[in-house]
């Protein structure tokens, strides 16, 4: 009986193909919107996490300054010194590496071309901490680092802008006022989670940068990479304690530096994208609901239009619940077909959009299933009122209706 009712519903839908299509359009768009939003949102979350992971796993950043956020006050806070790096290496366990870092903007010149970029002065540990791989050449040597030689490693963007087809390794590059030798080329990382180009970079020994570019012995930032499985909170506590001692901060004073955990930043950021995804999904879900009201409207029209048919069915012995089931099944079949069409549309749209906005496309079975069941549920919800109206019709009245 149920199977023949479903067949009957398909027949009724096929007979009114155009109207059925228009009816389910709301559901199609609703399902497509929800699934596309959530799929893209998942992709964005994934890409944020991946980009943050590319910064380096288990990475702590130590910055001077009182606190982070609005009204941040770094003016009075002294910078770090190279000796701080050694102290951290010696006094805190469970570390993989520690690297100092100064960054400054600089204009690069090579032959007739010039290019503005960010120059980082650091130690060899920087490459391991930041997950940087080399495509060509080498990183600066220990000796070059200690001596503050003019040897630099460039990012993909710098190579593209200044060298074009030329092999950059071994070439001379002018950074502001001094000339240095390109010893290596870094593998491209792409955009960072904040949207800036990580490959637009030049890396050189800390001492070189200090002497030739910043003109001071200050270190702007300390990068601390933890060993796998190390407890980040404990290391953070130890770091804070050590730095307070070294910077002679009294017990009643606030820290004049910050320790940031990239994993926490990653969690916060992917949390934000996840909330955005949910919000967008919820907005899209409203259109699904509106689509459901469309179904109810058309089913009511259909019941009115088919009053004589319903009368006939009742007269030849259809039971109330059979007529109810017929219209309910019709509504559910209609909304389910709409749901399916919506899923197909969502797949096409999200694949295309994911490519456009450069986030990975991740198939989420759960949201597909939820959206489909929701669509079918809307069929039940909004189909039951018209169906009940049909089933309660008086066959005599119904047959008399023109």
């Amino acid at each position: 009986m149920l199977w023949s009712t479903i067949l009957l519903a398909f027949r009724a839908i096929r007979r009114n193909a155009v109207r059925s299509l228009l009816t389910v359009l709301g559901i199609v768009i609703g399902v497509a919107a929800v699934v596309t939003m959530v799929t893209l949102g998942n992709g964005a979350t994934r890409s944020v996490s991946e980009q943050i992971a590319s910064l380096g796993s288990n990475l702590l950043m130590v910055l001077p300054g009182k606190r982070l956020g609005p009204g941040r006050d770094s003016a009075g806070a002294p910078a770090f010194k190279i000796a701080d790096v050694a102290a951290i290496e010696v006094q805190i366990g469970a570390l993989k590496a520690v690297a100092p870092s100064v960054t400054t903007g600089a204009t690069l010149v090579h032959e007739a071309k010039n290019w503005a970029t960010t120059v980082t002065g650091t130690s060899r540990a920087y490459f391991a901490i930041g997950n940087w791989k080399l495509v060509a050449g080498r990183v600066f040597s220990d000796a070059e680092e200690k001596a503050g030689k003019a040897a630099c490693v460039i990012g993909e963007t710098v190579r593209r802008e200044l060298f074009g087809r030329e092999d950059p390794v071994g070439a001379r590059l002018r950074v502001k006022q001094f000339s240095c030798t390109v010893v290596g080329l870094l593998r491209a990382k792409g955009q960072s989670a904040m949207g800036n180009d990580q490959d637009n970079t030049v890396v050189m020994p800390l001492r070189t940068a200090q002497r030739r570019l910043t003109g001071s012995r200050d270190v702007g930032l300390l990068l601390v990479s933890l060993r796998d499985g190390a407890a980040s909170e404990r290391v953070q506590d130890q770091l804070v304690q050590l730095m307070r001692e070294r910077r002679r901060i009294a017990d009643n004073e606030e820290d004049d530096f910050n320790v940031l955990d990239t994993r926490q930043i990653a969690q916060a950021m992917s949390g934000t994208t996840r909330i955005m995804t949910m919000l967008l999904g919820a907005v899209a879900a409203v259109s699904l609901l509106v689509g459901g009201i469309g179904i109810m409207n058309i089913m009511l029209v259909s019941v009115t239009e088919r009053t004589r048919e319903i009368g006939l069915r009742l007269a030849i012995g259809a039971l109330e619940h059979e007529v109810l089931l017929q219209f309910l099944v019709e509504a559910v079949v209609l909304s389910s077909l709409g749901g399916l069409a919506g899923l197909v549309l969502a797949t096409i749209a999200s694949v295309a959009l994911a490519r456009l906005i450069q986030v990975p496309w991740i198939f989420d079975l759960q949201i597909n299933a939820i959206a489909f069941l929701f669509a079918a549920g809307i069929g039940v919800l909004f189909g039951s009122f018209p169906a009940r109206r049909a089933a309660r019709l008086d066959p005599i009245e119904a047959l008399r209706r023109e």
């Binding site: 006939l312 007269a315 030849i316 259809a318 039971l319 005599i396």
Partner: protein, 243 residues
């Protein structure tokens, strides 16, 4: 849901026995008495015609005979079943298993093939597809439209549509066929074809027929003509007397 087996109306001497049937719409001063005490029996295999001016209670009578409505008072026995004691769903089951309907307006599903239209009552009986198909073809053959089985109702002429409707009514082999002005929308030639078809079904398949008409020519095909006036049976003519 009551099972069909619990409505046993398989055999009796009379198909229909109405005793003192009244039907009143509304109540108090505005009450309208459509039937004011009707006694009527229809024998197995009998063909009766019900005639009368409009407002005489013909339609109410058909509704009650068709178990679409119940008497306000009096009893209606369909074979051995007291119809007035049945609820809406049980009356639906009675119609499903023992009654066939033919309407003035045919009431076919428009964009549906003749075959599917005829199959419809069997669908509600839960008959398997092959059996439904075979029975529907046999019924269409009986009305001479087997060749038109794949045509939709909209593609058929009025006379053909009514014949499909008759096929739909007899496909369940009903004990009683109720025809409400079956020739009302047809020209005289088509009308006599339909009446000959009904007469043949009545004689050859033994289906009892109750038909409402206001055309004396059509009523003449019946074994008996019941004249209703103001909700009462005013006169009964046997065919022998009529011709």
């Amino acid at each position: 849901m009551p099972s069909p087996a619990r409505i046993d109306a398989s055999s009796a001497a009379h198909v229909v026995q109405l005793v003192g049937v009244t039907r009143t719409y509304g109540s108090g001063a505005s009450a309208f008495h459509a039937l004011r005490g009707v006694d009527l029996t229809i024998d197995e295999g009998e063909f009766i015609a019900i005639m009368g001016p409009s407002g005489s209670g013909k339609s109410t009578m058909m509704n009650i005979l068709g178990c679409l409505d119940v008497p306000t008072s009096g009893t209606y026995r369909f074979r051995d079943v007291r119809v007035e004691t049945l609820d809406r769903n049980r009356r639906a089951l009675l119609r499903r298993h023992f009654l066939g309907f033919v309407f003035q307006g045919f009431n076919l599903l428009a964009r549906t093939s003749a075959l599917e239209n005829v199959e419809l009552p069997l669908l509600y009986r839960g008959e398997p597809r092959e059996k439904r198909r075979a029975a529907a073809r046999a019924a269409l053959e009986a009305v001479g439209l087997l060749a038109w089985q794949q045509h939709t109702a909209a593609e058929l002429s009025g006379g053909q549509q009514q014949r499909v409707a008759i096929a739909r009514a007899i496909v369940t082999r009903p004990a009683l066929l109720l025809a409400d002005e079956p020739t009302g929308n047809l020209d005289s030639e088509r009308s006599s074809e339909i009446m000959q078809l009904l007469t043949t079904l009545n004689r050859e398949q033994g289906i009892s027929i109750a038909m409402v008409t206001h055309e004396p020519d059509m009523a003449d095909y019946a074994d008996r003509i019941v004249h209703l006036v103001d909700g009462r049976i005013a006169d009964v003519q046997r065919r022998a007397e009529a011709s």
